[in-house]
């Protein structure tokens, strides 16, 4: 069966007048319908660039890309015109950290969701209004009928985030891209929104890619987790395998340096140094300068992503 989404050897390079940035350097993964893939990684590792590539959102004039992104078998990277509009407006939706980017401040939440429903379904005004109310109900916004008349700024942060999810689901997408949608929320609100996304994903049998830098968040929502470093997936595994027995030295380091319950009094095992500059295509393992287990063969060539078993892959010559 063809997966919902299949990304193969994706490379994304930005060329600006003063520098070239190799943001994504050969990323491959699949997402099935009804599955949440968490993508975990630190700032600048290429999470957002990978996600935005799926909607072909990068500025055309200074982006070079190669590889393949297939949505239900259709190649995204060569899509244009109506097919691209259909992809963005209908087949794939995205939610962000900042709901302000999704909503226009001068229209009510109801007007914006209704408009989106009408555009995608051709429903009448009244039907679309009804659907908008159902959507707000679906994302558990209390008194949805009244809320339709609210402007984005009249809602609390958590409500706005729910409304953005409603807007994203208004076109019945099969794939939902979530780029740190809960990062800016308060702790007690974040968990509500995470649980909501988890429930909706099941109810609607959505494929979800959930990008985060927070291991706990990835654990709460993901079926599988991919760890990114310097524009590559360095490890890909089921969430339990990843939490119990990560294999890549970077994944292990990330887990060890994340403070959690019961670490008081212990010295933290920090990863020394900082991520590499993305100005050049890596000629060796990108993690080598920070890796405790580095060996000469790590420097000979970039290590390939190799299977540990049929559902666990790692990009490390020593761990594989």
């Amino acid at each position: 069966m063809t997966p919902l989404l299949s990304v193969k050897d994706l490379q994304v390079t930005f060329v600006t007048p003063d520098r070239t940035i190799h943001a994504v350097n050969g990323v491959s993964f699949d997402v099935k319908r009804g599955e949440t893939l968490g993508i975990l990684g630190e700032s600048g590792s290429g999470k957002s660039v990978t996600l935005r590539s799926i909607l072909k959102l990068h500025p055309a004039h200074r982006t070079r890309w190669s590889g393949s992104i297939a949505l239900e078998g259709d190649e995204v990277l060569t899509m244009e015109g109506r097919a691209l509009a259909n992809l963005r407006g209908r087949r794939v939706s995205m939610i962000f950290q900042e709901p302000a980017t999704a909503f226009d401040p001068v229209f009510t939440i109801g007007q914006q969701i209704t408009e989106s429903v009408r555009r995608h379904t051709g429903k009448s005004e009244a039907e679309a209004m009804k659907r908008a109310k159902d959507l707000l109900e679906m994302v558990r916004i209390p008194s949805p009928a009244q809320r339709l008349a609210a402007y984005p700024h009249e809602m609390s942060g958590g409500m706005r985030q729910r409304a953005m999810i409603a807007l994203a689901l208004s076109c019945d997408p099969s794939l939902l891209l979530a780029d740190e949608p809960t990062t800016a929320l308060d702790a007690t609100v974040q968990i509500q929104v995470l649980l909501l996304i988890r429930e909706l994903q099941r109810e609607l049998d959505l494929g979800v890619i959930f990008v985060t830098h927070d291991i706990g968040v990835a654990v709460e929502v993901s079926d599988r987790v991919g760890v990114m470093y310097a524009g590559k997936l360095v490890e890909l595994a089921g969430v339990e395998q990843m939490a119990d027995a990560p294999r890549h030295p970077y994944s292990r380091g990330l887990l060890a340096s994340t403070v959690h319950d019961g670490m008081r009094g212990q010295r933290l095992e920090a990863i020394p140094g900082a991520p590499p500059d993305l100005g050049e295509v890596p000629a060796a393992c990108s993690f080598a300068p920070r890796c405790k287990s580095v060996e000469p063969r790590c420097l000979a060539a970039p290590p390939p992503l190799k299977p540990v078993d049929d559902s666990h892959f790692v990009r490390c010559v020593v761990a594989a």
């Binding site: 958590g158 308060d186 702790a187 291991i215 706990g216 939490a243 380091g253 008081r264 933290l268 095992e269």
Partner: protein
């Protein structure tokens, strides 16, 4: 000789709090309404009393807008309180027989989250760190020597980094510079307001290790503000939990995390994402968002989200009172409060 060159001295002895803040209040009027007159008021911090013991780390947690940064800014007098006083090791601040605000700001330093905005882009980092000591009268050469010394202490090799500009540093390196700068006047208390929040986990761990080392080496006291409950637990001796401008619970870290008494503290702790995929969160501990600090609810400010709220909670504000190992502001824990769960 300028007071600045002296090393800080302990004046009141180990039992006297390093910092004592009593009855601090800060309300921000918001312009609006007819003729631009202030009609509404943000109750950012309300009648808050706290002490910081010498050598401890006091953690401060609470959701966005609960007043953590306002408390910090009141403690270093970056803003004036509407009411209340601050006493530093026995000396009242800005009072006839006390110390000046300038002296307070020498002994109490602050580090903010935004490592980029808080550094002058036109100064090299050694100049940035040497700036305050020079302004306080330390000869330029000595100030520079001290700056290089501090760079080494925060793990930045002076030979490599001293002459760089802020834009030539990573986020973690810039935050180390901010910490070095805060230490340049040899403070006794450092207030860290979300100081590691913008850093990646692997870098955050480096900076946390460094903060622990510096504290021992320089006999510092910390107030550590963060929305990350795990990091606060890791670093703090005592923890203060705030909700809408008030302390709801305060006590030793093991009591707060091991045996939380206030319903809000409990909710906050169980809202932490699980690190174990077999024990994911099933249900959110509380619903809704924190209410607006303009017109906070009457009585207990948490009552609009509290599953145990009763009539008395709307009518009477629960005082912060000792219950065993911590102090908590909840009618359920106050004998004779009239709440059905309170002992009579």
């Amino acid at each position: 000789m300028d007071t600045f060159v002296r090393l800080p001295v302990d004046r009141g002895g180990p039992a006297q709090p390093l910092l004592l803040a009593s009855g601090l209040r800060k309300h921000f009027p918001i312009p609006g309404g007819l003729l631009g007159r202030a009609t509404k008021v943000v109750h950012a911090v309300d009648d808050l009393t706290l002490s910081v013991a010498k050598g401890e780390t006091l953690g401060v947690v609470g959701e966005s807008g609960c007043g953590k940064s306002t408390v910090a800014r009141l403690l270093v007098r970056l803003i004036r309180p509407d009411r209340g006083s601050v006493v530093l090791d026995g000396d009242p601040v800005d009072e006839p027989h006390g110390i000046t605000v300038n002296e307070l700001r020498r002994q109490v330093q602050m580090v903010f989250q935004d490592s980029y905005a808080s550094l002058n882009p036109r100064l090299t980092i050694v100049e940035t760190i040497a700036f305050a000591p020079k302004a306080h009268g330390l000869p330029a050469a000595e100030a520079k020597a001290r700056a290089r010394d501090l760079l080494a202490k925060v793990g930045l090799e002076p030979a490599t980094f001293a002459e760089r500009y802020p834009h030539e540093l990573s986020g973690g390196q810039r935050q180390r510079v901010n910490i070095a700068r805060a230490l340049a006047l040899r403070p006794r208390l450092v207030i860290l307001d979300e100081a590691v929040s913008a850093l990646d986990k692997s870098v955050e761990a480096q900076v946390l290790n460094m903060l622990i080392d510096l504290k021992d080496e320089l006999a510092l006291t910390y107030v550590f503000i963060s929305h990350d409950l795990n990091v606060v637990q890791y670093l703090s001796d005592r923890v203060m939990v705030m909700y809408l401008g008030k302390i709801v619970e305060i006590g030793r870290v093991d009591a707060i995390y091991g045996d939380p008494q206030h319903p809000y503290t409990r909710a906050l702790l169980s809202a932490r994402p699980s690190m174990d995929p077999r024990r994911r969160t099933r249900e959110a501990p509380i619903q809704g968002d924190p209410p607006n600090p303009i017109d906070p609810p009457s009585g207990c400010r948490f009552r609009t989200r509290c599953p145990f709220a009763e009539e008395v909670c709307a009518r009477v504000e629960p005082p912060l009172a000792d219950v065993g190992r911590q102090a908590v502001a909840c009618h359920m824990r106050a004998r004779g409060s009239g709440h059905s769960r309170a002992s009579r």
